[in-house]
Subunit: 202 residues, 2 copies
């Protein structure tokens, strides 16, 4: 008897570029297919293997600016010259239907979500060390050295925002990181405030 | 890389008589033998199969009163004419050594722990329903009908205190209840405040 809480839980995952967020999210969603992964809109170019609607909704800068003008974003941010944004409407529909929603957004976006949705769960995924992050970014072979250095500097800035997150999960091993995130979600669903309808007649 | 948080976590489990706390705790401790289960002092008579130092520290009312006078309890309470109390000294030693401490105490005791230790995790274990609780109490064959009715009335009062707890775990099946408690403890250990020493040099 595990009653469904009335509204879905909003879950925010952040972490520096190269930390392995995509892999962690893919495993998490395979364990919890009931979670709705809300794909961000972005103006950046797709990487090899990325598809529109799967990894991101890839749109032009003009379209993105129009969406900003129409106030369609829960949050949006600019990062290395590209825009990233989260559609408010899509998320609200899922949460209202009692479905948990997962967002992968950067630290600026997470701070904005926290402001608008104080109950959101903010989870930061960190690498075991900066040396390891540097290794992973170089191993990806998708960026040149200047971009990698920029990303590492960005990672340092991002990690300074960790105190604003509820939880810190170290991605030393994907299965371990996913286990911890699953535990966080299970624990959250056990919160008294979501389960007050368990004992009838009390 | 899972750094040990510096101080142990204080975990409080409560729940009505007959809900199956002892069984849940036994399974929990077999999964997490690193947790220190702090045995309460009590003035009640041992039940069949209970041993001093294992289930409780069974003491006389005189000794209990002396301990109250010496301010040796984190909390103590009276329940169905018997005293139950938690030794402050024992707990502090374990927490300071970085060891998680589990207490099984009643709702009055839990409220006192919350006052003195705001970071304590308060978990309430509830039966799936009152009908089920009544069945379990009668199935135990240890109490007569008057005591059982008293316990059910007491259970109703206790369940009204659920909003004061952080988490509500329904003991529909012991393994499921234990799984949820384990998830709560894992999630708590992922809290940013306990893991700020993860990323060196940030």
């Amino acid at each position: 008897m595990t009653p469904k809480k009335q509204r879905g839980q909003l879950i925010v995952l952040s972490g520096p570029s190269g930390v392995g967020k995509s892999t962690v999210i893919a495993e998490l969603l395979s364990d919890r297919p009931d979670i709705f992964f809300s794909v961000s809109f972005t103006t950046r170019q797709p990487r090899v293997g990325e598809a529109d609607g799967v990894n991101y909704r890839f749109v032009s800068k003009d379209i993105f600016q129009d969406m900003i003008a129409r106030d369609e974003f829960l949050e949006y941010a600019c990062y290395v010259d590209n825009f990233y944004g989260t559609s408010l409407k899509v998320i609200e529909e899922q949460l209202d239907a009692g479905i948990d929603v997962l967002l992968e957004i950067d630290v600026q976006g997470a701070a904005k979500v926290r402001e608008k949705c104080p109950d959101a769960l903010l989870i930061f995924i960190s690498p075991p060390s900066f040396e390891e992050l540097s290794r992973r970014l170089r191993g990806r072979h998708t960026d040149d050295e200047t971009v990698i250095k920029e990303r590492l500097q960005q990672a340092l800035e991002e990690c300074r925002q960790i105190p604003k997150y509820d939880f810190l999960v170290v991605n030393d091993k994907v299965s371990h990181a996913v286990e911890e995130i699953l535990a966080i979600l299970t624990a959250e669903s056990c919160r008294t405030k979501y389960r007050m309808n368990v004992m009838e007649g009390v």
